[in-house]
């Protein structure tokens, strides 16, 4: 999996990013966000590369990567299913939807299916509470989702 993302092409894109943030105060967050966009994740190899080039201690970078929930060290599946577990969605039964997907796919929250196709995540509020409960698959948003419909929706992405 890692060989697939640690390509020369990706590293040269990272070089460009590092160049852009040279001399900018507090560059670490945008650097890591950019790196994650390039590689799909921020594995240790990428962290130590940034550490060396941007002259930031690796321990500090690792600390930041593991602190924020949106940074990840392993890439996600082809399709990311996120079930909103914000309050409005929760009171309208999003936990049951989550359980149903988890059971049907055999993966827990934050896990990726063994074929690398799906990653299931529980997201915090995406601010579309009027449409609760919400499920998003990649960039597609499904509002007012019924427990009985969810597996049919996911069928499209198989």
């Amino acid at each position: 999996m890692l060989e697939k993302i640690l390509t020369e092409e990706n590293f040269s894109a990272l070089d460009e990013l590092l160049e852009r943030y040279k001399g900018v105060p507090g560059p670490l967050m945008p650097l890591l966000q950019g790196a994650q966009d390039i590689f799909g994740a921020i594995p240790e190899e990428v962290q130590s590369y940034i550490a060396e080039k941007a002259n930031i201690p690796l321990a500090e970078i690792y600390g930041v990567v593991t602190f924020y929930s949106q940074f990840r060290m392993v890439p996600r599946g082809d399709h990311v299913i996120s079930v909103c577990l914000g309050t409005a969605c929760y009171v309208k039964g999003s936990q049951n939807i989550m359980d149903k997907i988890s059971q049907a796919m055999g993966i827990g929250i934050g896990e990726t299916s063994s074929d690398g196709k799906f990653t299931l995540v529980g997201t915090r509020c995406i601010g579309a509470c009027g449409l609760a409960p919400i499920v998003t698959v990649n960039d597609d948003v499904y509002g007012k989702v019924k427990e009985s419909e969810i597996l049919k929706i996911l069928e499209k992405y198989k």
Partner: protein
């Protein structure tokens, strides 16, 4: 014509007063010309050419505007302290890390009227003498990020940002910074740490951010909605704004109505409007003829407000008095089908996950509380657990370092106060009155059963028995309470309680 008249007469429209949301949905947010057409950047011109820094601060002070992020600190006083702070470099930060689940007014403003925030930040910068601003926005809001960047670029082209704004010699620039999914970064000092490229952890106060903020320079932070109120205040004058709202809290507040309510969405109302009016007149009450149980305000920092307090007039103090808080304005309505113990557990789970781990009361205390709540919802609670929850909650409130920990016990303490009977039902009778807590549920087949056998075939653990055309029975000791039988039953003969 008649129809238009009747729409405007609807309570949903009539009882609202739109100031912060004035332009949302009316203008094209990606065209600065449309913002200007609706008086945009006039407030900035008035501030720079007419009022001067002190004049601006006096105006904001006199308006009575208070921080809309939740704590309600007077905005004018904050700006004055920024103005008085000594330093050759100062910063303005817009806190757009709208993390409370169930609140989306900031997203709406950022997406629908981004220039109002940029104009307000520039006014604030002019008032306190800052030259650089940051908008710290959640990465979960990609459209807001895109539109803000467009708006910043357009403001530059028009000369509302950059050096020498309106030929005054005053220069200001704004940079976007994205969050990375940490609720605690809504806290001022944690947010600053995050911009600096560190773990988003708060530090003790003092020093306050207006003396030592970003890179230890004087920094003024305001929330998106607070900023959105600034241009109208400067344009129309403090007196106009101060005439709206309640005695202690002026102006309007945007609430995100959600949950079990007929009309969901953002509503902007004068502060001091009774809760009942918001939920029943504006929101249209509870769907499906269900009974109102509670309204949750303030997200994970707030509490659940029961029927008996529905006539409370919403403001910062009144909500705090009844164990909740205004917060950023999430307002989630719950009906008889929601279990209050489960809701308390839900919020605490959130706080446990989002605690940054720096101070012990928040890191360990909330975890202990969650453990007790899980024990109760799984039917293993004892009565002394309730006292433990109260005691622990109070200690966490008193001793945590930042706002996250100080308010994390609120959902538990408020539900314990108003819905103690529900907790006791879980502990003493081992039942969940709302039918939510799975471990305490029992599925039974009523006499409506026609003996079709469908439930028997869908049951994953084969715990249903019965002959064709006769009433079937569920064996509660083997039942895993998945609810598959209830969903499959063609005559709704299966009930859970």
């Amino acid at each position: 014509m008649d129809q238009k008249h009747s729409v405007l007469e609807m309570d949903y429209i009539r009882k609202q007063e739109r100031i912060a949301l004035k332009n949302c949905g009316l203008i094209d947010p990606e065209r600065i010309e449309e913002y200007i057409r609706y008086d945009g950047y006039q407030a900035l011109a008035k501030a720079i050419l007419q009022l001067g820094p002190e004049g601006v601060i006096e105006e904001v002070e006199a308006s009575g505007l208070r921080g809309r992020g939740g704590a309600g600190f007077p905005t004018g006083r904050k700006w004055r302290s920024g103005y008085l702070a000594k330093g050759n470099e100062k910063f303005i930060i817009c806190n757009a890390d709208e993390g409370d689940p169930g609140a989306f007014m900031d997203r709406s403003i950022l997406e629908g009227d981004p220039h109002s925030v940029i104009e307000a930040m520039t006014i604030a910068a002019f008032a306190i003498g800052a030259t650089k601003g940051f908008i710290y926005v959640r990465a979960e809001y990609p459209i807001a990020v895109k539109r803000l960047q467009i708006a910043i670029d357009q403001a530059h082209e028009m000369g509302f940002l950059g050096s020498d704004i309106f030929g005054s010699g005053f220069g200001f620039d704004i940079e976007l910074r994205l969050g990375a999914g940490a609720f605690v970064c809504g806290e001022a000092k944690a947010l600053i740490a995050s911009i600096e490229g560190k773990r988003g952890m708060p530090t003790p106060k003092p020093p306050r951010t207006n003396d030592k903020g970003l890179w230890s320079k004087p920094t003024i932070l305001n929330n998106v909605e607070t900023f959105a109120n600034i241009p109208p205040i400067i344009r129309n004058g403090a007196g106009w704004y101060a005439a709206i709202g309640s005695e202690k809290s002026k102006g309007t507040k945007v609430f995100a109505l959600g949950g079990k309510i007929n009309r969901t969405g953002l509503v902007e109302i004068p502060i001091g409007t009774p809760l009942r009016e918001v939920i029943f007149d504006i929101g249209g009450g509870i769907p499906g003829g269900k009974k109102f149980k509670a309204v949750q305000t303030g997200g994970p920092s707030g509490g659940c407000i029961p029927t008996e307090h529905l006539d409370v007039k919403i403001d910062y103090e009144s909500l705090q008095d009844i164990g909740s808080m205004m917060g950023s304005g999430g307002m989630i309505v719950m009906d008889e089908d929601n279990c209050m113990v489960d809701i308390a557990r839900f919020f605490l789970e959130f706080s446990v996950e989002e605690s940054c781990g720096k101070c012990t009361p928040c890191r360990e205390g909330t975890k202990k509380m969650l453990g007790i709540l899980e024990k109760i919802t799984s039917g293993e609670g004892v009565m002394s657990d309730l006292d433990d929850l109260e005691r622990l909650g109070q200690i966490i409130k008193d001793t945590s370092l930042c706002g996250l920990g100080k308010t994390a016990p609120n959902p538990v303490l408020s539900t314990l106060k108003y819905f103690r009977d529900e907790y006791e039902a879980h502990v003493k009778d081992k039942t969940c009155p709302a039918g939510v807590c799975k471990a305490l549920l029992q599925y039974t087949i009523t006499d409506k059963c026609i003996g079709c056998g469908i439930c028997k075939t869908v049951c994953p653990v084969s715990c249903i028995t019965g002959n064709k055309k006769e009433k079937h029975v569920i064996d509660p000791s083997a039942c895993i309470r998945c609810g598959a039988c209830q969903e499959a039953c063609p005559v709704d003969a299966i009930i859970k309680r």
